[in-house]
Symmetry: C2
Subunit: 357 residues, 2 copies
């Protein structure tokens, strides 16, 4: 079904990462991070190619050593999406990354705690016109802040504020902020607190979310609560798994609240003792056979007469199962009854014939 | 990390389903629905056994025909958790289900639209002391209500209200309500509206959520927003997939917000170019080797020195990877440095030795 409910986004400033905008009225972007050794340029570029195919908007790579930093220019030349360098302890790597032409930096204020180093990085980034994300993380807080505030939402916000004061003194305004924690509630409260006080664009993420199922749930819940309040301009789902899966989950999160759509949306019933057709297998096949489509349509795959006709009619095209047969619906009207073995092809034919809305 | 943020639940009445409580201060329960033909008693009982092992609290079965209705007594005798009969078009099946001794009924007000039938069901349920869920679903709304309100949150609430008036006239108060839609935003708004007006316990669900990844995301986002507001007394995740997975996701949702815990919680980093150990494989192994435990402990599995030591110390027991080695932490202190090949066993030994908190 189409939603009659629309979310209002909080107003934030806008920054430019390569040719991708973050904040303001720009679409909320999906990011991920490579899991290869960055200095292994071929492996890193290959992984970035995979996530680009999955429609990742911006990609980040770890820069833990000078060799990784010096690989960034070559990586950037070989890829199609903006590249972000993730910097922790060593300010020198940030300066090299900027020289190498990256499109954005991420700095962890818990790990670079020297104002003069931050000032140098800001000056170099400003000269090249690239933005910096202040990426606070509960797992690597400034010890003084942790001592004073504990592992709380306030501590995360305080860490960002301290860094922002340095950025302000350096007259650097091209800032994105994140306030990640592995506990979704701590994370949500930190973003709420911060967004009441500042209009910098926000990068959402639940850090160390965990293995795919738990990580997906924690990320979807945490980001869901924030997006529902209009908070969030870009996001990265962290999973202990494939970065392509991080991108897929990121898109699923945006699509669930109608914030962005990447192609067909499939509504499928969970199946139960009422179903006379194998809905689970059928829905999987429809998903597989339509994943190349870029049309933003809704497809319903339903098992029985309880919610089947209703959901099928509310979708652009639908299939509602019966006893060894299926009803095909198009724009709310039943147009055809077909035997079970022809259902999939009949549905796909209707989907193919449908113009993009 | 432990959360410093706690959610307050809205106050609701309490009902009893077998020996399981829903509402009031009872823990939020996890439900699922079987996908077998209910009248195939062996298959249905076998599936209920699987979901019971996964700690499902309450199970529902479809009752689309008289044979299914007459199988309920035998199914109930063979299982350990409360049994709910899902009734749509035929009031007679509801009466048979009650006679058969089910612990709760679910009625779809969009599909039984005759007040006298509802009155008879209420009388029989009251005599046996079993509660009824008024299960509104956007896919099967009363046509008059759909005509007047469209597919909106207001339509879902109006459908529940109409049914509640009939229940009130029948002096039946043992009610649970659900207001499901496949669109998470419509669903959230309906529950928000309803819970501002009534204190009946609420059963949460995003209907026809879809294939496992999308369905998990839609359910976690929808339920996440509601639980964050203190709404929800029991839940069922609908996935086009295995009911055991529905139970796993349901638990993951409750655990993510600290509302209930079923055993060890694993915090794992997503891995990146910094990691010198294979975090993904290691976290999977830790998950597999600890899934039998009932201790509510936190385990951190981290790849490098950025957030590793911080997260590991914030967990009850942790492993933080380095170059071919790992640091084992216990209650915030590093207690051991072990070579990579001994890491998993050393971590598991610490987990085993830990008392339940």
């Amino acid at each position: 079904m189409q939603s009659s409910v629309f979310l209002r986004r909080r107003k934030t400033r806008q920054v430019k990462v390569g040719d991708v905008l973050i904040g303001g009225d720009a679409p909320i972007t999906v990011q991920t991070m490579t899991k290869t050794k960055t200095e292994d340029i071929d492996a890193t570029v290959a992984q970035i190619y995979e996530v680009t195919k999955a429609r990742c908007d911006i990609v980040r790579v770890a820069v833990p050593n000078e060799k990784a930093a010096r690989s960034l220019g070559e990586i950037r030349r070989q890829i199609q999406i903006p590249l972000v360098a993730d910097i922790h302890f060593n300010a020198k790597f940030a300066l090299i990354a900027i020289e190498q032409g990256v499109d954005k930096l991420r700095l962890n204020p818990g790990n670079i705690r020297d104002e003069s180093k931050v000032r140098n990085i800001c000056a170099a980034a400003k000269e090249r016109g690239i933005p910096i994300r202040i990426g606070v993380n509960a797992g690597s807080l400034d010890p003084d802040i942790k001592e004073k505030f504990g592992l709380t939402p306030e501590a995360l916000v305080e860490s960002a504020k301290k860094e922002l004061r340095w950025f302000e003194k350096a007259k650097f305004e091209d800032v994105v902020v994140s306030l990640k924690a592995s506990d979704p509630l701590t994370c949500i409260k930190a973003y709420e607190l911060f967004s009441q006080q500042f209009d910098f664009p926000l990068h959402l993420g639940i850090t160390e979310a965990g293995l795919p199922r738990d990580g997906t749930v924690r990320s979807a819940m945490g980001m869901g609560v924030m997006l529902y309040q209009g908070i969030g301009d870009t996001l990265r789902v962290s999973l202990t798994g494939d970065p392509v899966e991080e991108v897929e989950v990121g898109w699923a999160i945006l699509e669930a609240f109608g914030l962005r759509q990447r192609g067909p949306k499939i509504i499928a019933c969970p199946s139960c003792g009422r179903a006379d057709i194998d809905i689970i297998a059928l829905a999987e096949k429809v998903k597989e056979r339509t994943k190349h489509l870029t049309k933003n349509i809704q497809i319903a795959v339903m098992g029985c007469e309880v919610n089947g006709p209703g959901e099928a009619k509310a979708a652009d095209v639908g299939l509602s199962g019966g006893k060894h047969c299926g009803l095909i619906t198009l724009n709310g009207e039943i147009i055809k009854k077909v035997p079970e073995e022809e259902m999939l092809d009949a549905l796909l034919a209707q989907i193919e014939a449908l113009p993009a809305p």
